[in-house]
Amino acid sequence: MHVLTTPPFAGTDRGQQLFQAHYGGVWRAFTLVFALAFTLGCGATPPAYFRLNMVEATKQHLTTQQEEQVSTVLLAMFGTPDEPATLPEMGLDAAKLKLAAGPVRSDIVGRKNGLYREHCAHCHGITGDGLGPTSAFLNPYPRDYRPGVFKFKSTERADKPTHADLLRILHNGIAGTSMPSFALLSAAKIDALAEYVKYLSMRGETELSLMRAFFELDDDAAGKLPQTREFLVTETLAVAAAKWQGASAAQIAVPPMPADIELVDSIAKGRALFYGEKANCVKCHGVTGLGDGQANDYDDWNKAIVEADKEVAGGERRAQEAQTSGMSPDELKEHREQIAWLEKFTRVLDGDALKPRTIPPRNLRQGVYRGGRRPLDLYYRIHAGINGAPMPAGKGTIPPEDIWHIVNYIRSLPYEFDGELGADRPLVARDRF
């Protein structure tokens, strides 16, 4: 059971996070080597474990016992990466999960199992926390599934992607990022992986709700979550699961592109909207459309780390300024607890979080669209905004036909020429110096 709780992280530098993220510190590596030494030659793989969301656990000031409570509940509900468990409330297909979970292996009829670890885990991590061993090398970082937030989908901003949305991303990959296309895999395999992503996401969301629930406990609960089905399943797991099940009903209804207007006129209208005060695209995507209008914003995943970093820095400054000489025993105890917490948070952020990066608005002159290049995909982005990112929803403000005009303008942007010959030519390295 010890592996379910935090291993003592050895590193303190973000430069080591790559190693940390995969092996969870010297402790985990040691266990791994030990386990390997015992099992090599028998053809078995050491068991894999889900990592606890230590950033959230520390942010919520959870005690070790409370972290264990969360681990135990999650283990009972979701099992392990080798043996995933399901409850009927999840609405997940256990057979598909089985195909995706576990170590890479072939079953008795020669069918490949362990698809997630074969194709996904090196970036997205065994836990789906986006902290696989390659994650630190990638820009953008691989998605952390645990908050259950997905960007590129056909549903309203806060809603989950549909199963078909996940299949499309797996099939096409994400242009402009490190996410490749898995079109060479069979439809059944892609289907199993999409199901497993939902499983990891539901698990991560349940973990977050459990961790956040401690604060709301009344004092007489003595820091223990209610061990009732009502709380654990009905109020926690089922709430996360219902959002996934309701996704297909939340699909955006898209009216057809206006047919009674010439493309050139539609583009002109879209251009006016792009620069206009209503749609206001220009504010972030820039007057040039190069995505240089707003350079210092973060997406939700990175913002959480930026804020945690700030909290730690502020706490350290206050701890240093504090005058311990005048403190009562109680105050001194509190002061020491605070310092221990700050040290823990620093360790956790070093080992379990990647260095925050800003999110640039898309450069619309390149013709590379992460969520897909179909006009329909661009319509979804403008209508619903991008969940987790600063991009707001135009829905309710921009009428559907105007959204289509903007789509047409955006699609024309990579080819729009308005200026001196050569001025729009991309800079090659030797021209910069």
Binding site: C284, R318, I398
Partner: protein, 273 residues
């Protein structure tokens, strides 16, 4: 109720008949206490005072839409201390679940709307209080476009474009344990907070540090104090006596009429971040 569960969890032998009797007794007691205060409603009042030298207002510089936002005197509103050292924007709400709501206030969530306005390149008010099911209207009375990124945790978050003169209506199906941040991605200095509670028993301290929660049922209730910079306020000093309040929760006995909590001094150290 607690008594019966404790007995069970310790595995003590409880004769079968006891259980329904115990539950019945507890229910009767609960009924009796509710009846005793049935017609009494009290108002909770208080003032938050800054303990220390009032911090100087920090001016913010608009780096977007300068022709409009540059005209307004923008200030960092994370900690606003008035002339009499009153601390503004302290959130106070009643924690008790399922608390009885005064009949006059029962319809307030349906009949009244809460407005959060993008005005002068800031949010007005800085902290808004909305009830579950109540309409929140996000408006924009500026000459420029805004967006309002509502980062709720239990409710679906939203981020709608709010063009000049436009508005967007939101309702929330569940309460939030802590106020949710509302920001504008176009103008990064714009920040505000949204308190979502299941009943009308919440308040935000005004510029002079005072707050008032009306028509609270008499009896013991638990108040929660929160401030964006201090987080859950862990200590208040009343009449020179410092009182630690774990997680910012303070039990208060409400009687009919006014219940004045007096001047609550919040030490300057609470706001250091």
């Amino acid at each position: 109720m607690t008594a019966s569960t404790v007995r069970f969890s310790k595995g003590l032998c409880v004769p079968m008949l006891w259980v329904p009797m115990l539950v019945a007794a507890v229910l009767m007691m609960a009924g009796a206490s509710a009846a005793a205060f049935a017609d009494e409603w009290g108002t909770i009042k208080g003032t938050f005072v800054f303990g220390g030298d009032a911090p100087l207002a920090v001016e913010l510089k608009a780096d977007k839409d300068i022709e409009v936002c540059g005209k307004h005197k923008l200030q960092n509103e994370e900690l606003v201390v008035g002339a009499d050292k009153g601390v503004a924007n302290v959130v106070v709400f009643v924690r008790d679940k399922g608390i009885k709501v005064h009949p006059d206030l029962a319809a307030s969530a349906k009949s009244e709307k809460v407005v959060l306005n993008n005005a002068g390149c800031r949010f007005e008010p800085h902290v808004a209080f909305v009830q579950v099911g109540q309409q929140l209207i996000i408006k924009n009375s500026d000459a420029i476009g805004h967006n309002s990124n509502v980062a709720t945790i239990k409710n679906p978050p939203s981020n709608n474009l709010i063009p000049s003169g436009g508005e967007s209506a939101l309702t929330f199906a569940s309460e939030e344990a802590i106020p949710a941040q509302v920001t504008c991605n176009i103008h990064p200095w714009m920040k505000s907070w949204l308190l979502v509670r299941p009943n009308p028993y919440g308040a935000v301290s005004k510029a002079d540090g005072t707050f008032e929660i009306k028509s609270v049922p008499a009896g013991e209730i638990e108040l929660q104090f929160w401030h964006e910079k201090a987080g859950y306020i862990g200590e208040v000093t009343v009449g020179g006596k410092a009182e630690k309040i774990a997680k910012g929760r303070k039990k208060v006995k409400v009687a009919g009429g006014d219940n004045d909590l007096g001047e609550m001094v919040l030490d300057a150290n609470l706001f250091k971040k």
